[in-house]
Amino acid sequence: MTRKRHRQLVLFTFPALAFFLIFAVFPLIGTIYISFFQENVFVGLKNFNFLFTDENASKRLFFAFLHNCEFFLIAASVQLPLALCMAALLTSGRVRRMTGFYRTLLFIPSTLSVVIVGFIWRLIISPLWGIVEYPLLGEKATALPTITLMSVWQYLGIPLVFLYSALLSIPSNIIEAARVDGASDFRIFFGIKIPLIAPQIGIITILTFIWTFNGFDIIYALNGGMPGPDYSTDVLGTLFYRTFFGWGADQGNQNLGAATATVIFFIILLGTAAYFATVQRRLKVSQL
């Protein structure tokens, strides 16, 4: 029986496994492989050496990394507290029968196309047609935070749903017991609910990290492959696109592009690993 079950398990996981191997693992290894070549000639680490030492390329790589960090910090520090507040409000019982309505409303932007979100927001904040006088997207200092906030607006629904379901799964008897003991709403939220959903908060943070460091779409939709002004919204994703595929009169270099992709992969890998090793392990689910 167990052997049969085992065979069935293999059979049922096979399609997903094959899909994963063909479309995720194989391209990943392939990318790393071709990053060691240039014009079909093995060159070892030369591409990486160029990326990190060439005056122009290293400057772009460094700034793209910096912009990604900014992207992540703004997204995490705005999106998470906002989603938490919304989720707390939705589960508090204060909105009564409107819960479903608000939940849907907050999730709708996540289902929109990035191109549409970018276009709508560009029009809303356009000094020419919109409601903001200041050229938010045209100034170096404000362009990236503005785009980040558009993205936060769009994807607020996803952490919200995570936290919402986590809050719902807290047994009501604990809350009731606390209430009987005379704990205030404030105390219940910070003393009981937050510790119970801490692992979810951790997961959301790391997902935001991966999502922002892979970020590309909204910036490309708004600013193209040479995201300005003066490269101020250039992130690793757009840098990779420009290196691999080329942009305007710049012709792409597939091997150098693969090297850029490999660098991005390792940044995300190391960031995630470091996070799991230091923070996530300590976020134990509180024992009831």
């Binding site: 708004l222 490269y231 792409g252």
Partner: protein
Amino acid sequence: MKIKKASLVFVMIISLIIPSSLLATSAMAATTLTIESWRADDSVFWKETLIPMYEKANPGVKIVWAPTPSNEYDSALSLRIKGKTAGDVIMCRPYGLTKTLIKNKNLIPLTGLPGLSNFTTQSMQSWANASSVPYCVPSASVGAGFYYNKDIFKELKLTAPKTQAEFIAVLEAIKKNGKYTPLAAAGASADSWALDQMGLELVGPYYWKGDAGGKALDDGMRKATDSEYVAAFSALASWKPYLPKAFSTINYTDAEQLFILGRAAILVEGSWSVKEIAPPGKNVGVFGAPVAKAGDKPYVQVLADHGFGVNASSPNQAAAKKLLTWFTTKEFAQAYANGLPGFFPLSKDKISIDNKMAQAWLNLRDGAVVTAPIGMDKMNTGTPNFFSVINNILNVMMTTKMTPQQAAADLQKSLETWYPPQKKK
């Protein structure tokens, strides 16, 4: 139980096979020629006019128009050429990518193609190799200049300016009136190419003396920081006070809209947008780049826009060459000039242009020195290439406090990092 398992496996296999069978290509007509292009805007004209014209005269040939968005064309085409999946007929960019394709033998030489005698060597130059062997049939050139709203000019009692001083006086008068934006242009970084092709390359040739100035920079005889180039940067920078508010967020379409809606008096644009900017009935005029001294000969930029070549790995080269021969005829040039007003044929044939606005653009060339843009050829072959660098510099110069001197110095610095003739000795 057994049957169930078998059927499960069967369904799985089927589900893997069906999509692949759908991808398999269907049967094709006798000869199909695919044309690679970045002119998605012209699809209707090609599909409804040009292709039926040719297919009717040449039964057995089926032409497929396959455009790619302009910004992605170079990279997408390069990948398709490498993967041997590119179309049979390739629309050629002037210089840049085309020179790379020629070098890598991805295009076939067109020596001896009947009808090529219809073109001057000069007009084939942007698509030829170092020894002037043509690889593409020249099809269209464009130019940049200024559209102006005649009604607004009449209201404010202004006339189209000829000199830089008159130009600034006109802009100042519109600004003082306060009702209209004096000069609409694109300042958003994503459209920074506009400030180059319809900015520096428009007003600059007068100062750097056209092709001579381009060659001097190419050969390293002069530097970008020399007075004639700085003067060109300054001429562009003189627009700054008259541009729309929040210029750094105005993209190409915004600028067009400002002018079309009558909110801007002057629009800097290219001849290619005649149809959108000056539809029949619109009271719009056009003038070229101003000169510094009255009586000086103006310089008019003629930008080779596109030609057509044959993919070296195409199995239908003979049919493709036949199509290219048709592209050299007067019949084609005539249809092209009227179907796509603002794109001017490069052949020697006398073509009559129905569109008055397009004719007005062509008239700008009368009595002017005709010149090609600088930096398109040799300085675009390295990294960072001239085009990307100048686009970014001009965008920064026009949207921040950067001076023309700093802009020229930045350009020179970038060239010195890689361009051999300009490298510091």
